[in-house]
Symmetry: C2
Subunit: 326 residues, 2 copies
């Protein structure tokens, strides 16, 4: 059996050595990388010399740019299609409904940006000024940033490897003029790869309040969510809680409830109990949520009486509680 994960580095930097490190290697990321006696004749010499040394000089700049942001929340899930962007959208609408709160929503999904569509501003563009990139304002107190605003047309694929995505994420943090915000909501793509490693590294000095984990009830989603929780723990990201999405479907004809994505292993609640994570609630599947996301309208405003609206608002209250805001 080959267990490649045992030797895996946590949060590895983005390089490949040409041969294994020699004896007495000073370490590819040390100050003396490429300069030691054992470096002479080593095939890795050039790679090691060219690696950045010491802490990233941009981290203090990111910290300064985000200094006026009170709460930073990551929205995470191992799996795609569980409702991360939908929930980020709901959170954005719900928080910004309070005119006294300034809210920002950042879309880290570089290859599949959804936030602009769901917030109804897909055709907006970014403007650059002396103070940096100006985000797109959905309302007076709701600002958003996404690669979607920079594309020549909506169909354009972003065919980028990790390193290019990382560079853009850094710009979103360092060069976007977010100004004062009560909340910065950071929507992430599925997985535990470049975007996730980078956002955590880049925000090391700026501090994240923590992560909201989104899942659906079925085991195949929980399997990926367990990996995401494992990532948070290894990376030192505080988990604010977990929300279970699409938990049941009430037929509009007969009002009978169907478990479309069935919790064969107890769903999100059982997972939270097992792993010691706060369960923030279940949100039933309401097709009108998807329809509001299609038209860029706030589901919470359009259908305040839906059981899904009640559930979402309760989750948001618990989340604000978890970051010490209420």
């Amino acid at each position: 059996m080959t267990e490649i994960a045992n030797g895996q580095q946590i949060l590895p930097p983005d390089y490949t050595l040409k041969e294994p490190e020699p004896e007495h290697c000073p370490g590819p990321e040390s100050e003396n990388a490429g300069k030691g006696d054992s470096c002479q004749g080593c095939a890795n010499k050039e790679v090691c010399e060219s690696l950045p040394k010491g802490p990233d000089p941009d981290l203090p700049l990111i910290k300064e740019n985000l200094a006026n942001i009170k709460h930073k929340i990551l929205i995470l899930s191992g799996k795609g299609g569980v409702g991360k962007s939908t929930f980020t959208t709901m959170l954005s609408w719900a928080l910004s409904a309070d005119e006294d709160l300034q809210v920002g929503a950042m879309d880290l999904d570089i290859c599949g940006p959804s936030l602009p569509h769901m917030l109804g501003c897909v055709r907006e563009t970014i403007h650059e000024s002396n103070t940096g990139w100006t985000p797109v304002y959905v309302t007076d107190n709701l600002a958003t940033m996404s690669i979607q605003y920079m594309l020549p047309d909506t169909d354009s694929a972003i065919i980028w490897r990790g390193s290019k995505k990382n560079a853009l994420i850094k710009k979103f943090l360092k060069d976007v003029d977010w100004d004062y915000l009560d909340y910065l909501l950071i929507d992430t793509p599925p997985g535990t790869s470049d975007e996730h490693i980078s956002i955590n590294n880049y925000l090391k000095e700026s501090q994240i309040d923590g992560a909201l984990i989104v899942t659906t009830p079925q085991e195949v989603a929980l399997l990926d969510v367990r990996k995401e929780i494992n990532f948070c723990r290894k990376a030192g990201i505080n988990i604010l809680g977990l929300v279970e999405n699409m938990s049941g479907f009430v037929c509009p004809n007969c009002k009978g409830e169907s478990k479309i994505f069935k919790a064969t292993t107890g769903g999100g609640k059982a997972l939270c109990n097992e792993l010691g994570i706060d369960f923030l609630g279940s949100v039933p599947l309401d097709p009108r949520i998807g329809r509001c996301c299609e038209t860029g309208e706030s589901f919470l405003d359009e259908f305040p009486d839906s059981p899904a609206s009640t559930a979402i608002l309760e989750v948001i209250e618990s989340l604000r509680d978890a970051v010490g805001d209420v």
Copy 2:
């Protein structure tokens, strides 16, 4: 307006220049990279010198290893959670139901592998022999490969940047002893990033039959699927057709149909008409599909009378037709 995508390179290699290319730059990937007159004093010199030159020497080895595979099909979608892995699983069960066909299913989703769970072999492990890595056999004529088989436990996160994922994908192609296969089905993660760029590059000499695109009906999924189609066209990947998943839900109580993910813009069929792609069919949402994926059973065997089974088998017939197999 900043249109960063206009200057974007298609299928860029994995490096970052320290400053823009100077005048008379021989090109970072040319034979003379780092050696030209204009390279002297250029901050990129070291990066350019260390970049691999010419075609990847592993491509002929990959070609040789895959020489006995008749059809290679990518399963793609811009968006997560639309049913790529579910459909790959269905395809695997359906094709391998014919005892005369040898089928392989490769899981390129490194951070969120689902295939082993859906095929009911999540606890299997990989064995290494003289002829390479032996895939996990679900049945006598259905072989699978996934990073899941290499993890110390199912919860372990794979916290890997793109470059490490690419290295593993190359091993899956070069070192796995697939032997003779009629079909190799390649399940991909969402997006258009490292995994997608790499699989296309690595299979350049081995030839892919093409890609099956999976979507759900709502516009927010189609938005990402358009990007995936754009990627296929830029990368020269033949599109075999598109299947629309979760197209309608029939309530088990009242038999009334609900459009859970509503096709506000005409869904997959309209998209196919617009972009000149073959529409292979719609598969209705049947919660029993998800339940079979939870237990690793074949939905097609368990519920042959479901309208979803009929729809899936029709899509598979069209797909075999598209690769010239029937």
